[in-house]
Amino acid sequence: MPVQQSVWPLGIRHHGPGSARSVAHALDELGPDLVLVEGAPELDQVVGLLGDPEMRPPVAGLVYAVDEPRRSLFYPLASFSPEWVAVRWALAHDVPVRFADLPVTHQLADPPEGDQTAPGHGPRPDPIGLLAAAAGYDDPERWWEDAVEHRSSSSLERFAAVSEAMAAVRETDDRPPDDGDVVENARREAAMRRAVRTALKEGFERVAFVCGAYHAPALDPATYPPVARDTDLLKNLPRTKVAATWAPWTSGRLALSSGYGAGVTSPGWYQHLFDHWSRDEDPGSPDDSLATTWLVRVARELRGQQLDASTASIVEASRLATTLAAVRGRPSVGLSELDDAAESVLCEGSRVPLRLVHDSLVVGHELGAVPDGAPMVPLAADLARQQRSVRLKPEASSQMVVLDLRRPGQLARSVLLHRLRLLGVDWGAGADAGGTTGTFKEAWDLEWRPELAVSVIEAGLYGTTIQSAASAKVAEQAERSEDLATLARLVGACLVADLPDGLVPVVASLEERTAQQHDVLAMLNAVEPLARTIRYGDVRGVDVAGVASVLRALVVRAAVGLPAACNALDDDAASAVRTGIEGADRGVSLLDDEQLRERWTAGLVAVAARDGVHGSVAGRVDRLLLDAGRLDQSDAAARMSRRLSVGAPAADGAAWLDGFLAGESVLLIHDPALLPIVDAWVAGIAEHVFEDLLPLLRRTFSRHQPPERRSIAEQVRRLSGGSGPVRAEESAYDLELAMPAVERVAALLGWGVTRD
């Protein structure tokens, strides 16, 4: 080992803009011949890509197990990340750069039997928190900013000081050596040391090691344990086959609140700090303009939200922020001062307007990009392959595509789009196919937005191909979903996305939830999508036997529970139940299952037999029974008469009528018994009640087509003894005009019709 120093550990705060600036200075000062960066060594294969001009941060290094992409680690890098700065510096100065850490291949593999190092044993001591508490700070981030990042002295010395402080912190760690986190940390540092030893052996003389501050003391060669101990630590670790690449990332995902965040709550602010420092290297009075430029941005954003923010207020806010920093004893203005100042001066003491600008400013909308040459994650590669095979190119501009599902090529496109939608990659949005009620046409509004690339990466965690990933995601959603209607929708989605593998778990959890479900309305709502699946599913080669048995159980239970569920409903609940009953009835009619139909109708009959059911529901049920032939016309007339009799409240009568007459109106036109009852009822309503009922009645009748309404009116005129035409139909239709159409239809039906 050479006497003079050969390794400079640069202990940084991950994603700290101040650390990034210090690292840049330290590297300039040091002029290393090798840069080591804490990170998965697997990323070495793709590190060159970071120098590509098309690589735009934020990006994330992604290392995943090849056969199970669910196991993966992300290493997000923003332009203000010290790691990014170090790698870019090395690439720009033609200095070799390597990543050093415990290889991900070990981290992603199954731990061997009996290994006591499963993660999550003891709490990880927060080294920065300990130091900050010692300095009297409640917020560790602020301590770091004040004590380290906002300081402008020589960077190499500063890193030495950080390393020393961390050594003191590490001494206070009294967790047992078999603690999971301690073991993992020991392994990681052993791996880092191994990288340093290798480098020194290869003859590098000035090695800069950019690592998390906590590791810095362990990387000083003077403190290295014997080689054998490190080798021992890294022996016999499990491995699995992994691959590495870069993935585009967004500011939002850097923030703490999102899934694979880097713990940076304010990337936009950090970006601002970093940009400011890189632009303005003059150490004279940088903070004033730092605060002012930030507040100008806040004000512009507020103005964009139609809120007043004058230039004079910005001056005042920036003055307040500076004074606040002085009151709080901070060397420079931080985000909390700026927020407080903006709240007090620009927003009149209210936090609400600031929240409006928070997302765009403090978090930011940066979207990274990765050059085309970067290795693709398997899912992205599969997507590109499928896009080629169905000939659907991703375009940035919005375009409308209408697909005819009877053609195999276009069906494949539809399936791909539906699968992507399940995966949360919203390339296409459903659009109105326009003027057709057929189910064979589908319209999509396609637009490939850059952030979809990030969604693809995320979806890539579910599987290696679009199909398997979509199936896996559906299965996971089914597992978590408590709601029958959601499950039923998932069944429908599986159908259009052609995912027979996904359907099995959905049906399984549907079966389980059905057994536990007591909410009749939820069951009613689930019937129709399931029935559609069975009706059209076998066309697409889906095994629907499982669904059929679930549906049967569902319909029977819904029918049994229906009468009780129709009790004591208010107007809103009644309308929900009515919609549910209508949907379930449509669903049952779709199926060619006489037995099931019988059970369902029995449920409806039981509802119809009850008094006290809300008029709207009772009327609808009566009508459904009439249409199904379970009620003959005289029964229907009797019911109508009872419902519309003087003793019944008129408002109930109107609701019943609304339920009964919804849908086809021919009933009133063609049934001689019903119209007089309605007529007599309307005529008998007291005037003040009539005024209340008028809107309801008007709504009931306005649902019908104008010619139908005209027919009804003419029938009414005839009832009241007027001298209208005897047959209303004759005046409504011009038979001469209709004749060619009638002939054609007759010919199609194979009836011989001659015109005479």
Binding site: D308, S310, A312, S313, E316, R319, L320, T323, L324, A326, V327, R328, G329, S336, D340, A341, S344, V345, E348, G349, S350
Partner: protein, 367 residues
């Protein structure tokens, strides 16, 4: 009596902040080695220590005056150090006036320059008036002029407080605009200008709940920094505030309460919080909220009242019966609606708490 407040000014009912805490202010003045803005008696750091409480290096304990967010106090102090006015906004009883008084006492050494805003406040109260006898005798002169507290503050470089800004009619409020933006007050009768000395600033308070107030004009809003004072966050915090204030007031009224048994404080504050938030502390029961604000200040007055009752008519121990009447009066502001709310609360919440039995009975007796 060993209480410093009564020691310095035994003959007044309520001493000014700077009199009551003269010892603390003096100790802070000695210990404070940080830069002070022009005309400030203390540095901003020392002011925040005075308001929020703490301990000086020499061991002097500083009593907290405002219990709540440190952040808000820091914004308020920083605002006064700039040349923008400070507007303390909040529902009644959130210590707006209290905080303003202590800030003025700590920064200018005097909290007596104050304009009490009412619907009848005239422009003279913000600018200047005339001593008409002298005006008629000698014509307009400085000697015939009666300066307002605002004008005196400008001349001495001190803080002036404007209480209840939103009660002042809008046209009178506007008199503040030129004072706040130009820091000068013109006296056309004498053809002169009064220019503010460094250190001059305005602390205004306004509440955003009471009806019948005059909205602040946006011109005025642009010239002030607004700090919204919230109701206390936690039960403990509020109990601490009430307990401290009740003891202080009791001492100045020469009431000898046994402060140890102020367990009633806890109960009263809890009743107030539950009715205010519409849900019980265990978050199990929803209760209706009355029309009254039920601020911390009202809880303080209920308890002071109870202390007085116990001292004069009881044995000196504050019991449920002593606070019950005050509670009823604080909650039931609308004789019809609020009474129903109160009865419901009594029957559904108070009654079920076994250890609150005495309170329940005392309240029932009052009807």
């Amino acid at each position: 009596m060993s209480d410093p407040s009564t020691a310095t000014s035994p003959d007044v009912l309520r001493a000014h902040a700077e009199q009551q805490y003269a010892a603390e202010l003096a100790a802070l003045d000695v210990a404070d080695d940080r830069p002070r803005p022009p005309s400030w008696r203390l540095s901003p750091w020392a002011v925040s220590l005075y308001v929020l409480g703490g301990q000086l290096p020499d061991g002097t304990a500083i009593e907290p005056k405002y219990i709540g967010s440190r952040r808000l106090v820091e914004i308020a102090i920083a605002t006064l150090a700039t040349d923008r006015a400070l507007l303390l906004l909040g529902v009644p009883g959130t210590a707006k006036t209290w905080l303003g008084e202590h800030l003025a006492a700590a920064i200018s050494g005097s909290s007596t320059l104050v304009v009490q805003g009412t619907a009848g406040t005239a422009e003279e109260a913000l600018r200047y008036g005339w001593n008409y006898a002298r005006l008629l005798a000698d014509g307009p002169s400085r000697a015939a002029m009666v300066p307002s507290p605002v004008m005196r503050a400008m001349e001495t470089g001190a803080l002036v407080r404007v209480e209840e800004l939103t009660r002042i009619p809008a046209d009178v409020q506007d008199a503040l605009i030129s004072i706040l933006s130009e820091k000068s007050l013109s006296v056309p009768e004498l053809d002169e200008q009064v220019q503010a000395k460094p250190g001059f600033n305005v602390i205004a308070t306004a509440n955003n709940r009471d009806k019948g107030v005059n909205e602040l004009s946006s011109a005025l809003r642009r010239r002030v920094n607004t700090v919204v004072l919230p109701l206390p966050d936690t039960l403990e915090e509020e109990v601490e505030i009430v307990r401290g204030r009740v003891s202080a007031i009791g001492a100045s009224l020469s009431l000898p309460p046994d402060l140890e048994s102020l367990s009633e404080v806890q109960r009263v504050v809890q009743v107030f919080r539950e009715l205010r938030s519409g849900v019980t502390t265990d978050r199990r029961t929803t209760v209706k909220s009355p029309t009254a604000t039920l601020s911390t200040a009202e809880a303080i007055s209920v308890l002071t009242n109870g202390v007085a009752l116990a001292a004069h008519f009881g044995d000196g121990t504050v019991r449920a019966a002593d606070v019950a009447a005050g509670l009823l009066g604080a909650v039931v502001k609308d004789p019809v609606q609020d009474r129903i709310v109160w009865q419901e609360y009594l029957e559904t919440v108070v009654r079920d708490r076994r250890e609150w039995n005495d309170l329940y009975r005392a309240c029932r007796e009052l009807g």
